[in-house]
């Protein structure tokens, strides 16, 4: 599809574009969060997860990073959800103008769409830019999106890389030569269960509608925290 020349065969053009946009959103993860959400969730079969699932799934429960959420004081936090909940893990930074706030806003909207069930999704934000992202700044940033969240921060590049590894994520800082630097990072959101298994991954651009539908499906498969099965959760 080109953007150009779509005016003649209007309907055909629109249909093709919808299809390609939706396909792209799934394929390359750069879909817009604005308009295609309904299309995407509408055309997907009910009960089908749209996020990426790996076989075998990634196991990240062994990853631990210092949690600097207000009140947590740097205690290590393992990358697994609380019992009966899901944990969305994202690697980003607060000076990020485009990807990070888009994803955080999308997660916020997805949680809202779930109503009370939305509380069963926690969000963990791992900074890839600890030099600029102080604990205080990170807390203020995340509070703009969520009432409840986890902020993870290490100043040890090795520890960060070790944490990214099991997610197959990575990040890098590239000096601009003028004292500033550019940050690049994996912009995928990983959804982790309470055993530390990554159930699915949402590429950047996954719409809030798609996220919400995926969460509905995943949560419906899990015992709710109201009926805890403590013995089976670690």
């Amino acid at each position: 599809m080109r953007g150009r020349g779509g005016r003649g065969p209007l309907l055909a053009g629109v249909l093709l574009t919808v299809v390609s946009t939706v396909a792209l959103a799934g394929a390359c993860g750069s879909g817009n969060q604005a308009g295609t959400a309904g299309d995407a969730s509408g055309t997907g079969a009910p009960g089908t997860l749209a996020g990426l699932q790996r076989d075998p799934p990634l196991e990240v429960g062994g990853v631990q990073l210092p949690e600097v959420t207000d009140g947590a004081d740097g205690a290590p936090m393992a990358m697994r959800a609380e019992p009966g909940k899901l944990l969305a893990v994202y690697f980003g930074y607060t000076n990020c103008p485009d990807l990070c706030p888009t994803t955080m806003a999308d997660l916020k909207v997805a949680k809202r769409k779930l109503g009370a069930e939305g509380d069963r999704l926690d969000v963990a934000f791992v900074t890839v830019d600890p030099q600029r992202d102080t604990a205080e700044l990170l807390n203020r940033y995340l509070r703009s999106f969520f009432d409840h969240f986890h902020v993870l921060r290490t100043e040890d590049p090795g520890a960060l890389a070790a944490a990214e590894g099991p997610f197959l994520a990575s990040s890098s800082l590239t000096p601009n030569g003028d004292g500033t630097y550019e940050v690049s990072h994996t912009a995928t959101t990983a959804v982790v269960d309470d055993s530390g298994t990554v159930l699915l991954e949402w590429p950047f651009g996954t719409t809030p509608d798609v996220m919400a539908e995926d969460l509905r499906i995943l949560l419906s498969r899990m015992p709710s925290p109201a009926t805890p099965t403590k013995g089976t959760n670690r």
Binding site: M1, V19, T21, A23, L49, Y141, S144, S170
Partner: protein, 248 residues
């Protein structure tokens, strides 16, 4: 323009599609000549200018909009009042080192008219390939710091913003590679000196693609606030548009 509403609707969708392509792969410039409309006066129509509400502590912002030029043109600059931000720059969010490969697969998906569901199963089928690719990428992370789309400046040629794609050579890229790129690859940003606006094509500045980056926000951008953004084009006259700050 008699079918304005329909066209607008189509454009809205087209924008998304085109924007996605742009975001993934820097849309090829090979098509821009064909739709030139001859002696028309240069003008650019701007639709849906918006910015996202900034989070506390966020010092960078982004303004998005849809641009449609009457003749081949380029957005070459943008500015905002100093009361909003210290500086505005044209930026593009890019995939990592193999970002251009996404285009090839995207095209092949389109060609088969695949739906999300089908894409989903394809994703599963190629999961192992993807994992390998992603692992490789994760293992070579230091190599990413020098990837070509991340080094900053264009040379100033108006067509460059979209001319950097190597679509022809990457059309055959496999799904596995692409998915590895999408899932495991890093995304970064680069400043661009211009954003090409082929005649009659709506170019979307959107999350994950081109945006006008606001550097050094003076105050948080709050929902409902408006920002005057002055756009400078290669040919069309400069114009100021009002971007609305939205919460999501």
């Amino acid at each position: 323009m008699k079918t304005r509403q329909a066209v607008a609707g189509a454009a809205c969708v087209l924008v998304l599609g085109a924007g996605v392509l742009g975001a993934c792969s820097k849309e090829s410039s090979t098509s821009t000549g064909a739709s030139t409309t001859g002696t028309q006066k240069a003008s650019v129509t701007v639709a849906n200018p918006w910015a996202r509400q900034s989070a506390m502590g966020q010092t960078m912002g982004a303004v998005y909009m849809d641009l449609t030029a009457s003749v081949d043109d380029a957005l070459v600059g943008a500015s905002v009042p100093s009361s909003v931000a210290g500086e505005a720059q044209l930026h593009e969010t890019t995939m990592g080192s193999t970002g251009s490969s996404v285009m090839g697969t995207a095209s092949s998906i389109m060609g088969t008219g695949s739906s999300v569901k089908e894409t989903g199963s394809s994703m599963k089928e190629t999961a192992s390939t993807m994992k390998e690719t992603a692992s490789t990428m994760a293992g070579t992370k230091s190599g990413f710091s020098g990837y070509p789309t991340h080094d900053g400046e264009d040379d100033g040629d108006g067509a460059d913003a979209v001319a950097t794609g190597t679509m022809g050579t990457t059309m055959g890229t496999t799904m596995g590679t692409t998915m590895g790129t999408a899932m495991g690859g890093e995304m970064g940003m680069r400043q661009v000196s211009s954003i090409a606006l082929p005649a009659g094509t709506t170019v979307s500045l959107k999350p994950g693609g081109y945006h006008i980056m606001l550097i050094g926000l003076v105050a948080p951008l709050t929902e409902g606030q408006t920002i005057e953004v002055t756009l400078t084009f290669e040919k069309a006259p400069q114009q100021t548009v009002t971007a609305t700050v939205k919460s999501a």
